[in-house]
């Protein structure tokens, strides 16, 4: 099962490596990991997408909680939540493909943010599934470069992750 774990942790050097090290040392999977400071610069918020049985996820959350730098965590997938990922894709866009990619970008509600006579850069946000679908829709041979941010997310409604 896929799980999204949101972590609030001290914004200190080494905090990221403690989390990443925990996953490798205990043989847990990381599908993606994003991290950045919050509105309070002493705090970082991290989002980890992982997979495992309920028992494994329980252990992961317990082991994360045990890290001294971790203040609080929340399993987003336990409740209603919103998740988003950013995709930047550089496409070889020549001839008829230019119109096609413009149309596809509109359908997926993306933006073309850089244009040269040969290339487009498309910016797209959404769930991982939506980004996957876009990648399937554009022709493989024309994809020059892909960068994805990894999933980040937030709980809906009153549920909050706070100190």
């Amino acid at each position: 099962m896929r799980h999204i774990i949101s972590i609030l942790l001290e914004n200190e050097s080494g905090a990221l490596s403690r989390v990443a090290g925990l996953f490798s040392a205990r043989n847990y999977n990381i599908d993606s990991l994003t991290v950045a400071p919050t509105e309070d610069p002493s705090l970082s918020r991290m989002t980890i997408v992982t997979r495992g049985s309920d028992e494994v996820i329980e252990q992961i959350t317990k082991q994360l909680n045990k890290l001294v730098d971790v203040i609080r965590l929340q399993e987003l997938t336990e409740g209603q939540h919103v998740e988003r990922e950013l995709l930047l894709i550089k496409l070889l866009a020549e001839g008829n493909d230019r119109e096609e990619y413009k149309r596809l970008t509109e359908i997926f509600r993306g933006k073309i943010i850089d244009v040269t006579d040969m290339t487009f850069i498309v910016e797209l946000t959404g769930t991982g599934d939506k980004l996957d679908a876009f990648l399937r829709a554009v022709e493989g041979k024309n994809i020059l470069e892909v960068v994805r941010s990894g999933t980040t997310g937030i709980a809906r409604g009153a549920r909050r992750l706070e100190v």
Partner: protein, 571 residues
């Protein structure tokens, strides 16, 4: 008070009540060693290898309950300490390890004696710090001591770059009496609802079993455990780490459980209907094959570390909290309760007596070779069970655990989780330095002792009258035993040729050496050695090479599937 970083460190240790630091100097810590010079508040014990400093500090912590403190230099100083740090980590021993680091300006430049100590130690510490500003030094040290000794204890590394301790930079110092960390607040009190549920289940048991571990020792809950166990009249077993928390000579005690546990303890685990796990972590050496673990039991687990609960074995009633607090609450509830079914308990005890009658630790008492079990039995009798016993790792460790009956906690010092050969002698130093007037014995083997043999020199320097029981079978005994049982006797690399003459070796370090190769001389030799109150005595016992540790649960087997010494004779 204006002090340099080096002076702050020493003043802090004094203010924190640290009496003793185990260490070894080097370039990155020279400012600190200069601050040590000429002061008498904090005694520095100079070891011969940084690994020994960590083991000695670890043992100091195990026998006193206070955090052990280590001071080593950067680079190799730090890497040599890693084995000892990992040893303490797996056994949850409170320690603060101060490692020197190259100056902040040189960090990351592959400078002389530079390693990323924080990175290297990260997976084997409870937490670690790199001090980047001398103004943070005192509060970082305070946090280190707080983290090391609260919650589930463990080692904490504080890496201090050389410029932080620069004697030219003096800043105001005040001892930080407390520290607060928003991200670290260990739970101590158990949940009252869970405790009530557990007590109800405990009282409804027909075939109960109490299984305790090192957490009882760490939480100083020995008294509470005794009260709990006696109130219930339930059988109790202990892990290797928990020995002594409940008296080893008590009628209700079934001995150690697990891979080399007693027949009655392991059978009791297999047949019980309610298992009460207290401060134990269901280690693989204890559980055997997980699918076969306590098949009939509802399991209650009391532990301060939530991550220990349901990690390997799913439990029915988890209680997160300090063992001492939780047992106090439980005892209060039990005081007011009636034991429901004494007939059932009677039947259970009869069954246990039947298992006990197997006498699973029996060995050949008529051999003309020295049996290691006999040496330990004699040691136990002659010290009346009151010695502080450290051990190395292997067969001798298991025999010590089986044959030396500990009636009090903090007397049995061994590397249970990591299984670190080389632990025994430096651990004995730490124990002896903590308990100057007590008898400290190191039970070891000729392979383990050579992993930290250089510490005989430290023992002379500080006049440590440790008694070393070297059970010398000329094999890495436990490796040989596994090779005999699982590899058809192909003794690959488990035999060590060219052993030193341990008597001469001990003598060359300024100690007393004894060579004992006949069973009839064991008793007199021990008497003689134990009477030498002020000398370290190295007793080299030449033991039966073929002796194995029994009972044994081979890997992949359940508790009920034990190999007994009698099976071997039949085969």
């Amino acid at each position: 008070m204006e002090l340099s970083g080096g002076e702050i460190l020493i003043q802090f240790l004094k203010d924190q009540g640290v009496e003793m630091v185990f260490g070894y100097p080097g370039g990155a810590v020279l400012h600190i060693y200069d601050a040590i010079y000429g002061q008498t508040d904090v005694q520095h014990i100079l070891v011969r290898h940084e690994q020994a400093a960590t083991h000695a500090a670890d043992a100091y912590a195990r026998v006193t309950g206070k955090p052990g403190v280590v001071l080593v230099t950067s680079g190799p100083g730090a890497t040599n300490a890693v084995t000892g740090i990992a040893t303490a980590h797996l056994d949850s021993i409170p320690m603060v390890i101060i490692t020197g680091q190259v100056s902040t300006a040189f960090i990351g430049s592959d400078a002389f004696q530079e390693v990323d100590a924080v990175g290297i130690t990260r997976p084997c510490v409870k937490h670690n710090f790199l001090v980047k500003d001398v103004h943070d030094l005192a509060v970082t040290l305070k946090k280190a001591f707080y983290i090391a000794s609260s919650g589930r204890p463990g080692p904490v590394v504080v890496d201090i770059p050389k410029d932080i301790t620069d004697p030219a930079i003096k800043i105001p110092y005040e001892y930080p009496k407390t520290c607060h960390m928003r991200s670290y607040n260990p739970v101590t009190k158990g949940h009252p609802g869970q405790i009530k549920k557990a007590v109800d289940l405990i009282l409804s048991a027909k075939r109960p079993m109490i299984y305790t571990g090192g957490g009882v020792v760490l939480s100083e809950a020995s008294e509470e455990l005794r009260e709990f166990t006696r109130l219930l009249n339930y059988p109790i077993t202990s892990t290797l780490m928990g020995l002594g928390a409940y008296p080893g000579t008590d009628r209700q005690f079934l001995g150690m459980l697990g891979m080399h546990g007693t027949y009655e303890a392991n059978m009791g685990m297999h047949e019980c209907d309610v298992l009460i796990a207290i401060g134990a972590r269901f280690d693989d050496r204890v559980t055997g094959k997980l699918d076969l673990f306590c098949p009939a039991a509802k399991i209650i687990h009391i532990d301060i570390d939530p991550a220990s609960i349901s990690k390997t074995v799913k439990v029915d009633i988890p209680i997160v909290g300090d063992v001492k607090n939780v047992l106090q609450e439980m005892n209060a509830l039990l005081q007011g309760s009636q034991r429901p079914d004494s007939d059932q308990l009677e039947k259970w005890w009869l069954q246990i007596q039947e298992w006990r009658a197997k006498d699973c630790l029996a060995y050949d008492r008529h051999s003309n070779l020295i049996k290691p079990q006999y040496v330990l039995e004699q040691l136990y009798e002659k010290t009346q069970g009151e010695a502080y016993v450290t051990s190395d790792v292997g067969q001798h460790q298991m025999w010590a655990a089986q044959f030396y009956k500990f009636d009090s906690p903090r007397r049995w010092v061994n590397s249970g989780g990591l299984g670190t050969m080389g632990f025994g002698l430096p651990a004995a130093m730490g124990a002896q330095l903590a308990k100057r007037d007590e008898m400290v014995v190191c039970v070891t083997g000729e392979a383990s002792i050579q992993m930290c043999i250089q510490e005989l020199s430290t023992c002379l320097q500080y006049g440590l009258p440790i008694k070393i029981i070297n059970l010398n079978n000329r094999y890495m005994g436990m490796v040989r035993q596994w090779q005999e049982l699982s590899y058809e006797g192909r003794y690959s690399m488990s035999y060590m040729d060219a052993l030193p003459d341990f008597v001469k070796l001990a003598e060359s370090y300024g100690h007393v050496g004894m060579y004992i190769d006949k069973p009839e001389n064991v008793s007199a030799a021990l008497d003689e050695a134990l009477q030498m109150k002020n000398r370290l005595v190295f007793m080299d016992f030449i033991t039966d090479q073929t002796e194995n540790v029994y009972p044994m649960i081979q890997s992949g087997k359940g508790h009920h599937d034990m190999l007994l010494s009698s099976d071997r004779e039949l085969a």
